[in-house]
Symmetry: C2
Subunit: 125 residues, 2 copies
């Protein structure tokens, strides 16, 4: 990918990490497009940024997540659509064992900004 795209992808992912650490749900939701969909394990698909915001608000509390780290393994763009394959590491509050997940994110560039449009993940163990 181009250096500019790489920078934007990384910026969006780092902003998500910062939002989780700060439990800043507005900033977290801003990582997604308005009509994004997430496909969380063990539940139904969640559609739309507001519903996604609610999902994460509940999930971060339920899993007691202190922070998350995203690692992009590959990213490929075709026009204004891209897809990323990556790994996520979730660190629980209180220092318990971290959780490893892997994910695929379909990205969309809207109004010049790359955002998450479809987000699916599962546990690695």
């Amino acid at each position: 990918m181009s250096p500019a795209t790489e920078q934007e992808i990384s910026r969006n992912n780092r902003a998500f990490e910062a939002a989780v650490a700060a439990r800043d749900m507005d900033a977290l939701a801003a990582a997604y497009t308005a009509d994004a969909r997430i496909l969380p394990p063990g539940g139904e698909m969640v559609s739309g940024r507001d519903n996604i915001r609610q999902f994460w608000d509940g999930a971060i509390a339920a899993l007691n997540v202190a922070s998350v780290r995203l690692e992009t393994l590959s990213f490929e763009a075709a026009g204004d659509t891209g897809y990323e394959v990556g790994r996520a590491t979730l660190h629980p509050a209180g220092g318990g064992p971290s959780m490893q997940a892997k994910y695929v994110v379909v990205w969309k560039r809207q109004d010049g900004a790359w955002k998450w449009h479809v987000d699916i993940w599962n546990a690695s163990a």
Copy 2:
């Protein structure tokens, strides 16, 4: 998507379903590109058609899958890349309760044929 693309997408998915029902691992593997990746829940990523073939051979036996049905909820193509969001229903041999999953597949058109290039799924309950 164009009717031709829709037909090809459907054909590949129906071929996968038929391959699972017949436990025809060569036909199953042919749904994927040679350098495809799958991200199965509870395990590490599996790369390459031969390794994916082996994974499914073991998983279908372990889960005692008699048949699978794939339902495309959305498909969008940009050039020779596409992405699909869908639901899968797995029917175990012996008539036990079916399992519901959801998935995202990144498709690639190679030599004129659309194939699965990245495949990730998780349970819906």
